[in-house]
């Protein structure tokens, strides 16, 4: 099956190199864990992988083809979970979830996704009444509600209680068992089986040779 691959990626933001010469390979079923201090470019790398940002150097390849050649096809095969939860305050939990699921061609009745993050009892609650952790769980439920091959998770465990972190780890394990891949930026320990680690140094000078995990 196809590899998801980054080749000597460079990211420049505000005239400053965030990182340069960064490479990775993410095979099916693989988990890439991004570590590094604040500002080292973990979020930028995830946004690059999602196609929200364009690399200033290097390329991202899916099955040997640059993702820039077919951005919509790439968007269709990934879930990106950033710092924002995309929860509408006036829509109920179930309405919030079914909109995104339907937009991605997922299940019409996303009960399983609600169940996976223990949201079933909150299904009728409007988004504005949710706590930060509950909103995060709702955002995570989107991952289950519509299948996608690649999960890009930026600090997915922020605000989650202990039990929910366990549910997240289980969801990721399930996803990987089905051949899905995941890239996570995280500071807290997530229980993942044999992850590939990619450490981003805070100051990656461009003249360094390629960093390979």
């Amino acid at each position: 099956m196809a590899n998801f691959e980054g080749r000597s990626l460079q990211c420049r933001r505000g005239g400053r190199d965030v990182f340069a010469g960064l490479s990775f390979v993410l095979p099916p079923g693989g988990a890439l864990v991004l570590t590094g201090p604040n500002g080292s470019g973990k979020s930028s790398l995830l946004r690059l992988m999602a196609g929200l940002l364009r690399p200033t150097g290097g390329d991202l390849l899916w099955d040997g083809r640059s993702i820039a050649t077919a951005p919509e096809a790439h968007a269709g095969r990934l879930h990106y979970l950033g710092h924002l939860d995309a929860v509408k305050p006036v829509l109920s939990v179930a309405e919030n979830l079914s909109f995104w699921a339907a937009l991605r061609g997922g299940a019409a009745a996303p009960e399983a996704a609600l169940e996976a993050f223990a949201l079933t009892e909150l299904a009728a609650l409007p988004g504005r009444l949710l706590s930060a952790g509950q909103r995060r769980r709702l955002a995570l439920a989107r991952l289950i509600a519509a299948p996608a091959e690649l999960w890009l998770l930026d600090e997915p465990s922020v605000g989650l209680d202990h039990a929910s972190v366990g549910r997240l780890a289980a969801a990721i394990a399930d996803h990987r068992a089905g051949g899905g891949r995941v890239a996570v930026a995280t500071h807290t320990a997530l229980d993942l089986a044999d992850p590939l680690r990619l450490s981003l140094d805070a100051l990656a000078p461009p003249q360094l040779p390629e960093m390979v995990w």
Binding site: R54, A75, G76, Y80, L84, V90, L91, L103
Partner: protein
């Protein structure tokens, strides 16, 4: 793709329905601002009847302007825009769907309220049909042009203040042909050329807005 387009429209309509204050705001602004003119220019019926089409159009334009800031801002701030960009639905179509929903919740209520103002201004009701037809062709253009402005100012601080500066000059063609059509009808001249030109502006914007709006949104999300 079509179903995704409809989903976005349905979602925005549902959001508008749950937050009815936003839609009412535009209509109330429309009626209240127009109602100020008789106080400003005096209650002389002939004068009011003559300037009625112009007032209705200018006030409608300002009412649309008032509602533009929310068009993309809420989705931008809560991360929905990011998710829309990363959905299989092309962003161009998502922009078009959002503009259509905006028109349904802003432009259409204005058209519904326009006869009230026409009566208030003692406008010759023979011109009412043309006024409504011109608004039906012109208000979608206001939403479409405004959407580009709203998308362009997303990343900017105090973007809401920038929108009128960007958008108002671009509203001039719709204003000229919209008022022209109604005036022509009232004075017994041919209405068709004005309406055709309004339609032409609408068609151009139907193409320009999705492309320009989507490009601006991508830029804002980088």
């Amino acid at each position: 793709m079509v179903s995704g387009f409809l989903l976005v429209i349905a979602r925005d309509l549902r959001l508008a329905l749950r937050q009815r204050a936003d839609a009412w705001l535009a209509v109330l602004f429309f009626v209240l601002t127009a109602a100020l003119f008789p106080f400003g220019v005096g209650p002389e019926p002939n004068l009011l009847a003559r300037i009625a089409p112009g007032i209705i159009w200018v006030v409608a334009l300002l009412a649309v302007l008032l509602s533009l800031e929310r068009l993309f801002l809420a989705d931008f701030e809560d991360g929905s825009l990011e998710q829309l960009l990363l959905s299989p639905l092309p962003l161009e179509l998502a922009v078009l769907a959002k503009v259509l929903a905006h028109w349904l919740t802003t432009g259409l209520p204005l058209i519904a309220a326009a006869p009230l103002l026409a009566v208030l201004f003692h406008m010759d009701l023979a011109g009412l049909g043309v006024l409504l037809l011109a608004m039906l062709l012109g208000t979608p253009t206001l939403s479409l042009v405004g959407a580009v402005g709203a998308a362009l100012t997303l990343g900017a601080r105090r973007g809401g203040v920038l929108i009128p500066l960007l958008v108002l000059p671009l509203y001039v063609p719709a204003l000229i042909f919209g008022v022209g059509a109604t005036d022509a009808a009232l004075q017994g001249f041919a209405v068709r050329p004005h309406l055709l030109l309004l339609g032409a502006v609408l068609l151009v914007m139907l193409v320009v807005t999705p492309l320009a709006g989507a490009a601006a949104l991508r830029q804002a999300l980088e």
